[in-house]
């Protein structure tokens, strides 16, 4: 069933010849403190945001490709560049690099895991929540700059 696939075999290693129930696999990932799994979660999380922020960039580029364009309104454009910057710095750049660090540092120095595995897991989940919270602002209630709006002041927030 695993066709000799090394990763699936690793997952199956504690079960003789049956597939583990799907909820077990999910729970395994959600509750893991293994630095390798946490590193991979950071990387996947960052890649998802890379695609979203990349789309934001493409939309901006389309708007700016010709003069006097009306592809998006000015308010939407302001939100686009704010979210593109914030997402790329905080939800792509940092997670992906610390994800690689998490995965590789213990392996490169011959250690079993990080010094504080549970803190590691907690850090991942709290940053995932942070990402969700920021993007919730697209849907959420009255913002300071209009109802249901994401921040639109630039990623370094020099508010007018």
């Amino acid at each position: 069933m695993t066709n000799g696939h090394p990763v699936l075999e690793a997952i199956d290693q504690t079960v003789e010849a049956r597939r583990r129930p799907r909820m077990d696999v999910v729970y395994g990932w959600v509750s893991t403190v293994d630095h390798k799994k946490i590193g991979l979660m950071y990387i996947v999380y960052a890649l998802i945001f890379l695609v979203i922020a990349g789309l934001q960039a493409m939309l901006m580029r389309i708007q700016l490709a010709v003069p006097n364009n009306h592809f998006v309104s000015p308010q939407v454009f302001n939100r686009l560049f704010t979210m593109h910057g914030t997402t790329m710095v905080f939800f792509v750049g940092m997670p992906i690099l610390f994800g690689f660090g998490n995965y590789l540092v213990p392996l490169m120095i011959g250690a079993r895991d990080m010094a504080f595995p549970r803190l590691n897991a907690f850090s991942f989940w709290i940053s995932a929540f942070g990402g969700f919270l920021l993007y919730f602002s697209y849907l959420g209630g009255d913002g300071l700059y209009g109802a249901g709006s994401a921040p639109d002041v630039g990623w370094f927030a020099y508010a007018r």
């Binding site: 090394p6 700016l64 690099l97």
Partner: protein
């Protein structure tokens, strides 16, 4: 904190600090910067919350506070933050270039010293983001000087990478190609940075597309490029399968062409006066064609990234099976099976000898 503690306390026997892979050194320095630099951001955000919701006036100039205060707090965080982003990228390059040149990294002690130096100096350059705010000539001059000084350790690193390539037997596989692109692109990015560090030059180009082009050159041209190299290099370790070289070449060339179309030409509208964050512009200023080329470059980059994602997904199921060390590298992670078991090492390895200082150290390990 986790990373620093792990690297300081959990090294296996024989893994002296002078034998630690440079990637680990760079993660330690990055983590050190995070330690120092994130607190100002948190403090500023708390002050902003007090301003917004509890009637404070920290940043309200009309009430005796100062908007410039926000800028200081933000950039005391913001500048070191970009070094936190770039140092791990240096780490990837430090690991990949020696392996694909079949040579140890040139000048390991200098590399460590330069990395630590960059970490410290990065904490002192923040107001080069604020040259137009009116800090006065003394303030401006200090930050011009500090920013120029940081180019010295950075230059040392670039020189050492080139010296590693010189005389080596270079293997042009995809991870190495991304690292070579990194070298050239990071150099250009650093040069535009040094241009911007001259306060008068900065006054002309502040908040223009020249700045946008500079920092995207670093973020995309250096960091993301090195990151792609790292994906191709470590994917076999994580999944046990190699990514496709052919698709990797497509990814590389589409992305590099797109990157240069977009970000090389983005400098020009900046020099012609196009400001940042405008949602449209009038025809007749000479910006139109440049912006169009920039947009076309973005399409190429998207195509490259789609190749990359497809490569990752497809190789997971149908990639060539990699052994434990497909690149014939020599750092400890390559001695584990691919993918490594959950306990990493069945027996704690002991690093016996050091061929030369640097990552060429685990040829003789006893497990």
């Amino acid at each position: 904190m986790n990373i620093v503690t792990t690297a300081m306390c959990m090294r296996c026997r024989g893994m002296k600090l002078s034998r630690m892979p440079l990637f680990v050194w760079l993660m330690v320095v990055s983590s050190g910067i995070v330690f120092v630099a994130v607190s100002p951001l948190t403090a500023a955000q708390i002050m902003l919350t007090i301003d917004r919701y509890l009637g404070g006036h920290f940043f309200d100039t009309q009430a005796g506070g100062s908007a410039v205060l926000w800028m200081h707090f933000f950039w005391i965080f913001g500048h070191p933050e970009v070094y936190v982003l770039v140092l791990p990228a240096f780490g990837f390059v430090n690991e990949i270039i020696p392996v694909f040149s079949r040579k140890a990294i040139f000048g390991y002690p200098a590399m460590v010293a330069a990395s630590v130096g960059i970490g410290f100096i990065s904490l002192s350059v923040w107001a080069h983001h604020m040259f137009t705010v009116g800090m006065g000539p003394a303030g401006n001059t200090f930050f011009v000087f500090a920013t120029m000084v940081i180019s010295v350790p950075t230059g040392i690193k670039i020189f050492n990478w080139l010296a590693t390539l010189w005389g080596g037997k270079i293997i042009f596989k995809v991870p190495m190609m991304f690292c070579i692109a990194f070298l050239f692109q990071f150099l250009v990015a650093g040069l535009t940075g040094i241009m911007l560090s001259a306060a008068p030059f900065n006054w002309q180009l502040s908040a223009s597309y020249f700045v946008v082009a500079h920092f995207h050159y670093v973020l995309v041209g250096a960091i993301l490029t090195a990151l792609f190299g790292a994906f191709y290099y470590w994917y076999p370790k994580v999944t046990g399968r190699l990514m496709s070289e052919g698709l990797g070449q497509w990814h590389f060339w589409l992305f590099i062409v797109g990157f240069h179309l977009t970000f090389d030409f983005m400098h020009v509208p900046g020099l012609l006066g196009m400001p940042r964050r405008i949602y449209t512009y009038e025809a007749g200023r000479g910006w139109e064609w440049w912006n169009l080329i920039v947009g076309i470059g973005a399409l190429f980059q998207t195509a490259g990234i789609l190749c990359f994602v497809w490569n990752m997904v497809r190789s997971y199921y149908r990639g060539e099976i990699a052994g434990h060390d497909p690149w014939d590298a020599w750092t400890l992670e390559w001695s584990t099976p691919s993918p490594p078991p959950s306990y990493n090492f069945a027996v704690e390895p002991t690093v016996l000898a050091d061929g030369r200082c640097g990552t060429l150290n685990t040829l003789k390990i006893r497990t």
